[in-house]
Point group: C2
Chain length 94, copies 2
């Protein structure tokens, strides 16, 4: 995957808002788009960046494409930041 893509993906407010929406559970591209004053094409562009950064994955179902959070990469970002804050690196609880 690569940190460059991940951090780039997180650097845009629209994309962070999309991630926040997905905390509630999967949403279709259309549902996500309704939250923003942008064309579907632009939302699609942002979703693609999140997908390439592996921050989300998609599930195709009927006519829809649903987007989900992929938590693995969030863990990796945590690790990266941990090198600065010096908290323990293995969160072995839970």
């Amino acid at each position: 995957m690569g940190f460059p893509e991940t951090f780039k993906a997180l650097s845009d407010p629209v994309r962070r808002e999309i991630l926040t929406m997905l905390k509630e559970g999967r949403k279709s591209a259309g549902e996500i788009g309704q939250k923003f004053d942008m064309t579907g094409a632009t939302i699609s562009y942002h979703l693609n960046i999140l997908k390439k950064a592996e921050l989300v994955f998609e599930e195709k179902e009927k006519n829809f494409i649903y987007y989900n959070l992929n938590l693995t990469v969030f863990e990796e970002i945590m690790m990266w930041i941990t090198q600065f804050t010096g908290k323990k690196e293995d969160n072995s609880e839970e």
Copy 2:
């Protein structure tokens, strides 16, 4: 401060590399610049972005300006990510 600036600041590889360098301790703008194949003006631009994001602070001493990590904001990013990974939010050890 604001997450937008912080994430923007972290989105550039040069700036992340600068932060990594500063783990060792404070460095002057000149010392930082030696690591990169860029003009001092460009380094200064990146340092300013890190400073505005409050990821670093500066100490002026004699003819030099030394840059240091400011760990506070890293903690805030950790918090932001924690909302996704669901780890405990108060790291009350140490």
